[in-house]
Subunit: 356 residues, 2 copies
DNA sequence: CGTTAGCACTCTCACCCATCGAGTGCTAAC
DNA sequence: GTTAGCACTCGATGGGTGAGAGTGCTAACG
């Protein structure tokens, strides 16, 4: 039969597309391979099961569907999901009621990006019944907003560093100076640093610090603290992802495909890998668009049974973060895409407001 | 047979105790019900399997062992574990090499309790191959150490509050004053608050703030910020547990008894319940001693398949936290107890050092 | 009188096999 | 091109069976 030759994922006639869509939507809800009869029963296809069978066979030839065994129904392949995702240009937007609810929630929490990204993850988890992921908006280069020093004892101080981007860093500084270092001195040091280092990047701060006079006790301490600050900033700049907050991993556990836990355990281990998450998030932040990674499209084998829907948020010049959803490959992509789009858009608004 | 009468968990002759111990230790390592033959083979009991069988039957009558079915070996009941735990007064202490390694790890991180309790959880997870739990050392009453204010825009400032106990709180303060509020003003406000509120508790701060002069613009802003501070302190004081950090839940997933994931999912859900963790941690912090909660001894049904080994750390008058381990009921209690004891002791040292 | 060898008994587990049913793929008719 | 009909395939289900592990009991032993 000539038409059974495997052909590239090319133009599919509308009816085939409709049936592919039906298979996917049915499979997403039932988690069972779907047969030709179930399709004609539940979807108004206007053709008989035999015709559907022919088309299912074609879709399988095209690599969009697969067959666990001869006498089972069809289930989508990763390529099938991919085709489906590409075909839904207008992902179902979130119903206005839910949009309002989410806006309200965000209105409740502190006005700080710190809280927002956590809430975003939680919200996404709840709405999609999958795991929500979010990273804080991290700038390409950090800027100093504020320095504060608190005396711990004569030899040690606690350094509190606020970045323009909202992050707060805390560190201990040991001061093995001969000078007595009391809180009054530290106040002068902090004042000096705040004056000279406001809005400075690591590089700028380093240059400024070099000009301090080591003969003056206050400036000497300031220099020492400043060195510590520069180190913190450099660490911060170097890290691809500062932190990935996740919520609702339990939701994913509930999916029948993860009933025996070893698969999911692999996913968890992969999620613990900072480098992997870093590059994933980095690629999304760079692209500037929502990204769907389906099953085996994931670089890591442990993630071959899950899919990701990720979107960047923030302002390209300033700070960028990523929010998204992790769920079983068999997830409702339109819903996930719609939800992630809305939440990332909302975060954009909030970040804009913060920087306005 | 008279001796088969179920008797209270009373004095057990030494040989019976040895066999109970052997059964538990064998079961802990193999995760399989253990038979009389395996016992005489692997443990130098000096008696035949028939004798062992008699004793096993007695132990079962006493409720210390159980029998999945007639032709299976014995496995410990919760009561059996309890008896075993009570009998090991001198839990195996951690080998000196590991002690040194852990000390070294703690030397590597920042000198702040913030990092310590996280590291404690991670360390415990690694050493016991179970989940490590830790809460930060939380004082009964929080004291203000330092206040800092950063201008966000004319109407808003970011408040940074450092507590004597090491915690840092951040909050946004809206300033709908008619005064122009720039960073210079905020600096004066912060200086004023630092001067008057140093070491103050919520109640003390409230009293001080009441005496501020509302006619003076700086004092008015200071009062407003102060109110926010008092609210933060009260929230902090009211919370039973600030945060429970856990690490290594993956280790628990690997145990064969959690191969099908629903049991473990229940445990996870129970762990998400703040109130439950709060009272658990509270009871341990109050008692002042290490506490072992075995299986069904847990108040919540979801936790009936896991055990906890928890110990308080900190200084009763000042700040108290809890560290511990969560693992399957079938866990090595001597090892867990030894490890938790060591880590809590180490944290005690560190906290003492911090407050010295 | 405690301990031990011996042995019948019980119960699970793994395996096999037959049955059932869902769903396919093909053919022939429309 | 579509559809009805039908043989075929393959997993799931359930009963039956043999092996093996481990017990509980009895009777002999020191």
């Amino acid at each position: 039969m000539a038409r059974r030759i495997r052909r590239p994922l090319g133009p599919l006639d509308l009816r085939s597309q409709a049936i592919l869509r039906a298979v996917i939507e049915e499979y997403v809800t039932t988690a069972q391979p779907v047969g030709s009869l179930a399709l004609v029963e539940r979807y108004a296809l206007g053709v008989s099961s035999a015709t559907v069978r022919n088309i299912l066979a074609e879709l399988e030839m095209a690599g969009l569907l697969s067959h666990p065994h001869t006498s089972a129904g069809r289930m989508p392949t990763d390529a099938g999901y991919r085709f489906y995702v590409e075909s839904i240009v207008d992902a179902s937007p979130l119903p206005p009621v839910e949009q309002l609810m989410i806006r309200h929630q965000f209105g409740q929490v502190e006005f700080a990006s710190e809280h927002w990204f956590r809430l975003a993850a939680t919200t996404l988890a709840g709405l999609t019944r999958s795991a929500g992921l979010a990273t804080p908006a991290k700038p390409a280069v950090a800027h100093i907003r504020r320095v504060d020093l608190v005396a711990v004892n004569e030899r040690m101080a606690s350094l509190i560093l606020v970045l323009r981007e909202g992050a707060i860093k805390q560190a201990a500084v040991t001061l093995d100076e001969t000078d007595a270092v009391d809180q009054a001195t530290l106040n002068r040091v902090a004042a000096m640093l705040n004056e000279h280092l406001l809005e400075a990047t690591a590089t700028a701060a380093e240059a400024t610090l070099a000009r301090f006079d080591r003969a003056d006790p206050v400036q000497r301490v300031a220099q020492r603290v400043g060195d510590r600050i520069v180190r913190i900033l450099r660490d911060y700049d170097a890290a691809a992802v500062e932190e990935v907050f996740s919520d609702g991993l339990l939701n994913v556990m509930e999916a029948p495909e993860f009933a025996q836990s070893d698969k999911l355990r692999q996913v968890f281990t992969a999620l613990e890998n900072r480098a992997y998450l870093g590059e994933l998030v980095g690629s999304v932040a760079g692209s500037g668009r929502i990204r769907v990674v389906i099953g085996a499209e994931n670089a890591r084998a442990e993630m071959h049974d899950v899919s990701l829907v990720l979107a960047p948020y923030g302002r390209p010049g300033r700070a960028l973060g990523v929010v998204g959803v992790l769920g079983p490959t068999r997830m409702s992509y339109p819903h996930a895409i719609g939800t992630v789009t809305f939440v990332s858009g909302l975060l954009n608004e909030l970040v804009d407001h913060l920087y306005a």
